[in-house]
Symmetry: C2
Subunit: 406 residues, 2 copies
């Protein structure tokens, strides 16, 4: 139990301790952990002689704070820092020295928590892939023939991954209107979200080597929520034969706080069975996933509750697949689950599915109706997971508001 | 005319001056330019008081040399440094002070010349796209319906871009053998190349803005040769519906020397006409490309001579398309032309095309036959372009040898 007032039971108790990067006052940037409605700058803790992490939290004097040096340091350092922070935030003997360092979360300016190296997006929800298949390719089998054999994925644009709260400008581009022979240019008229869970790689690998599914926790540090904004009309016209490009690359939002895997030990649950059996390199000694309950809020109305644990391919399998060809990992690599959709309509992670291709509008609590996003709309994705001893782990939200096309 | 012995007429005369990063002796790393068979370390030139570029060539004392600070500095600095280097290497008055700084290219250890931010690969050769369509989708129209309306592209893996000379290990992965119902796991049996030209972005942009085709030279610094190694069997099984992933992500090789656009003024030629007319955002005030003649050498035999100037989409159009949705650019972004193939078989930039899907083997000069790459094979791509006053610009080669799968 932490001595920080109000933290216990807040979803950000001492059993959670997610990491982020933020500015505060005129004070430069800090790497910190969140506890309740406070943030604790870890460079300050080091300067106060209360934490020794080899300087990973203030690599260049705090001018450009980034989680990357800590991510690269590996599981032993991750565990040691977490143990020490737990001690400092629970033992009342430290309260006098640590409490003055806490800053209100309400006053910080969140930054992108880590420098994104490569960004990969998977397509691992059977319900999502099946829904998309039915909407885009009616009359054909909903899943492509390879879908149950490998976790389909592709590379996205790392340079346009932005932190929660960043405004998202409606993209312009080419689309071919229904029935038209020629494409037209203009703002997307089918702007959508994809509610996803992202995994953050800490420990890199050498080119030509691979990572097994069982080595997942030796390389992956933690978890963010992710909104893979998608312009469906741009995407539909461009994606054959080489996949999504400008329909996705204008923005991908992630939560400001990275939840370490260590905070999710109580959230581990068995993953769904797989049929047909997978090839050996995708086998897991213990097949598990995480029980994360997502919530999608559209202008204040909760429109969907996607269940992460229903995904067919696990994050460990995704990692094994991504590296089976010898592709190296870098610190800061980010890979996302793909849209999380459960079996029922109110569990879908995209508005494409929620409105069934734009044919069945959704009614929000103010009485307005929506199929795709309108200018000024705000979407917020949250998630919760079971923590130890009946606590709850709340994921830092990922939110964004749509600005008018330029 | 340069005073450096042997440089004139070598393809690396003073009209060229490509940039690279290399190690030399026990001496750390340097950014340098190549002149003839010598390299000139630019940090040394700065230390000798002969060049003032604001420290961009030795940002951290040479421990981790990178072109990125220079790339970010923009066209005025690019031009000023080039002018000064031209002066130093042509005016005999400087010879006594500069010549001792030159090191033999034969003795340097080339490094990746810049930190790759995002890597995008286009698909802009009509001949290549048509050939691939005929090979993979016989009986269907060879070009997808969007092909003449937009430069199709996708994101590749930036973290596995390697410098010329790096060994390329044959990737393992899933493939579905012809006629088989189920996939198998193992080393790729259809390992291929793609001969391409890459463009290196220097000046970044803000998210939500776009770059017009006419602003190409305000953002793009220079050109590399690129080999987009491709495992055709892995790619064929995985690429529907989200595009190539593991069939490409194991390695992409680039030349060690970046040729600045400024060296290619004499190589500018009109680009092929486009029909149907393109949308406004893809129009160019002056439609041009570069007259680069590529050469693909397989175990010492030149098997193909792909002509870059035949590409349907120009690098300026690719840049305008890539940013039309507001996607930002970062210093170090790399985008490649896609496989360069001309109209005839001996101008194709992939072995898939050269052997027509593996059905028509190629005979090398030692009498051996090939369809796809065998272990131990070496592929080297070179290129030449017209320089000023009848000179030739030789592109630093991109070469790689295939190592046995692990």
């Amino acid at each position: 139990m932490t001595w920080v007032p109000g933290a216990a039971g807040s979803g950000y108790g001492v059993e959670h301790l997610p990491y982020g990067v933020f500015g505060y006052g005129a004070d430069g940037e800090h790497v910190g952990v969140r506890i309740g409605d406070r943030a604790l700058p870890l460079d300050r803790l080091e300067q106060a002689g209360l934490l020794d992490a080899g300087g990973v939290f203030s690599p260049d004097g705090g001018r450009m704070a980034s989680l990357n040096p800590f991510l690269a340091a590996g599981p032993d350092v991750w565990a040691a820092v977490r143990d020490r922070l737990t001690e400092l935030l629970t033992d009342p003997a430290y309260r006098d020295r640590v409490e003055p360092l806490l800053v209100p979360v309400a006053d910080i300016r969140p930054r992108l928590p880590f420098a994104v190296a490569d960004y990969v997006d998977f397509y691992s929800s059977e319900h999502h892939a099946g829904n998309v298949g039915q909407i885009f390719r009616p009359g054909q089998p909903p899943l492509p023939p390879n879908w149950r054999h490998l976790p389909i994925g592709y590379h996205g644009r790392a340079g346009t991954v932005v932190v929660s709260g960043t405004e998202v400008r409606r993209p312009c581009g080419q689309r071919r209107p229904p029935g038209a022979g020629q494409p037209v240019y203009g703002p997307s008229v089918r702007l959508d979200i994809e509610a996803e869970v992202g995994f953050v790689v800490g420990v890199p690998t050498a080119l030509g080597t691979r990572v097994t599914a069982d080595d997942f926790a030796r390389h992956v540090f933690g978890v963010v929520l992710l909104n893979d904004w998608s312009a469906r009309d741009i995407q539909a016209w461009e994606y054959q034969p080489l996949g999504p490009f400008l329909g996705k690359s204008f923005a991908t939002s992630i939560s400001a706080w990275v939840t370490p895997l260590a905070a999710l030990s109580a959230a581990r649950v068995p993953a769904p069975p797989q049929d047909p059996p997978v090839l050996d390199y995708l086998r897991e000694s213990e097949r598990f996933t995480y029980d994360l309950s997502l919530e999608v809020e559209w202008n204040g109305t909760v429109v969907s509750r996607p269940p992460f644990a229903t995904l067919y391919w696990t994050p460990a399998q995704q990692l094994a697949h991504m590296t089976v060809n010898g592709a190296s990992l870098r610190t800061g690599d980010l890979y996302a689950s793909g849209t999380v959709s459960g079996p029922s309509r109110d569990q879908t992670g995209s508005f494409l599915e929620l409105s069934w291709g734009g044919t069945e509008p959704v009614t929000l609590s103010d009485g307005s109706q929506r199929t795709f996003l309108e200018d000024g709309d705000t979407v917020t994705i949250r998630a919760a997971a079971p923590g130890p001893q009946g606590t709850t782990i709340s994921f830092g939200e990922v939110t964004g508001r749509i600005a008018t096309a330029r």
